[in-house]
Symmetry: C2
Subunit: 198 residues, 2 copies
C-alpha cells in the first residue's frame, strides 16, 4: 500500500483546493503543477516552454503543417511526457501523496492509486473562476466560459495522448464528487476517511 | 431541508446494500421496491403486473404492434408512473429518507435531494451477483452478464421516459461511488458524514 491519491478535475471545480486540503488532512505530500518545475529543473528546460508542450494541444512555436513537422512535435511531446512520467514514478515510489492532474491516474496505474474526479455545474465553475481572478484581471463570462471549455478540452486530449479513453468517464475513477452543492472545506474530512477504506 | 437521499445504482454494484446501511447509519426511512407494493395496495393493482409495467421496457401481455396498442401501452405506463410519483411525493414530504431507484432523483428534483450513483466494474458486479444467487439458482456468467446489461438498459429507458437524459451521467449526481475497491460496509459512515455536509 503506497497511499497514492490522484485528483483529476474540471477547470473551476475547486479540485485543486480539495486536493490541497485533503493532503493536509491526511498528512500527505501534495503535488500539482510544481511537478513541471521539478522536470524543468532536472532536465534544464525553460519551465514555460515545458508547460506549454505538456499541457496544450497546440505547439508553442510555429512548426509548419508538414508530416515531418507533426512527427517532430509528436516526438517532443512524447519525450516531455516521459520526463514527467519519470518524476511521477519517483514521487509514487515514496508514497503518501496527493497528485493533481498530470494524468497521474493513468501513468501510475500499476500503483493502484485511489482515483478521484472533481466536477461541478458550469454556473458554479464560472462563479468560482470569477471569484479567483487576480486584481486587474476581469474576463467576461463568455471569455471565462471559453477558458473553462478549452482547458478541459486540452486535459481530455492529454488523457487520450497518454492512452486513456474518455476523460472524466466515471468508470475510470473510484469516487466522483460534484462540488456544486457543499463547501469544499466540509467535504475533506469525510472524503479522507472514505479514502482510508479503499 | 428535507434530508432526502436518492440512490441510483447499476445492477450488481451493491447500491441497495449501501443504501440500506446508509439509512440505518443516518436513522432515516428506507425505501426501494417496497414503494411498488405501497402503490399496488393503494390502488388495488396486481403487484407483479404493476412491477412489470413500471420497470420493464416491454409490456407484460401481447398488445399487438399497432399505433393504438402502443398508445394504450404508453398511457398505462404513464398512469402507473404517476401513481408511483404520488407515493414518492408523500414519502419526500415526510423527509429523512433514503430511496433506491424509482427515478426518485428526477421525480423529487424540487426537493433538491442528495443524489448518489453507485457503480462497479463488470467483474465485480458478476462476482456479487454470483454470490447472491438463491439456492438452486445457477445462472452462467453469460446469463448473468445479459441480466446485468438488460436490467441497466431498462433503468436507462425508464430514466428517459421520466424526462431524464443519459442515465448514469455523473453530472446528474452529487456523488458517484465505484464499489469495486472497498467493502461497502466501510464506505457507509464516511458517505453519511459527507452527505450531512451537502
Amino acid at each position: 500500500m503506497k497511499n497514492i491519491i490522484t485528483i483529476s478535475r474540471e477547470f473551476g471545480s475547486g479540485g485543486r483546493e480539495l486536493a490541497k486540503r485533503l493532503a493536509e488532512y491526511l498528512g500527505y505530500h501534495y503535488y500539482d503543477k510544481n511537478i513541471l518545475d521539478i522536470v524543468a529543473e532536472k532536465w534544464d528546460i525553460d519551465p514555460e516552454y515545458y508547460e506549454h508542450v505538456v499541457e496544450k494541444s497546440t505547439f508553442p512555436y510555429p512548426i509548419g503543417k508538414s508530416f515531418a513537422a507533426y512527427s517532430s512535435y509528436h516526438k517532443i511531446k512524447t519525450d516531455s511526457l516521459l520526463k514527467q512520467r519519470n518524476v511521477l514514478m519517483e514521487i509514487a515510489k515514496k508514497g503518501n501523496c496527493v497528485i493533481v492532474g498530470r494524468g497521474a491516474d493513468l501513468v501510475l496505474k500499476t500503483f493502484n492509486p485511489v482515483r478521484i474526479f472533481v466536477y461541478a455545474n458550469m454556473e458554479n465553475k464560472l462563479a468560482r473562476c470569477k471569484g479567483r481572478q487576480a486584481e486587474g484581471e476581469s474576463l467576461s463570462d463568455s471569455e471565462l466560459l471559453r477558458l473553462i471549455k478549452q482547458t478541459d478540452k486540452d486535459r481530455a486530449r492529454l488523457y487520450l495522448f497518454l492512452g486513456g479513453d474518455k476523460w472524466g468517464r466515471k468508470e475510470n475513477y473510484d469516487i466522483c464528487i460534484n462540488t456544486s452543492k457543499g463547501e469544499i472545506k466540509d467535504m475533506v474530512a469525510p472524503l479522507g476517511e472514505m479514502i482510508k477504506k479503499l
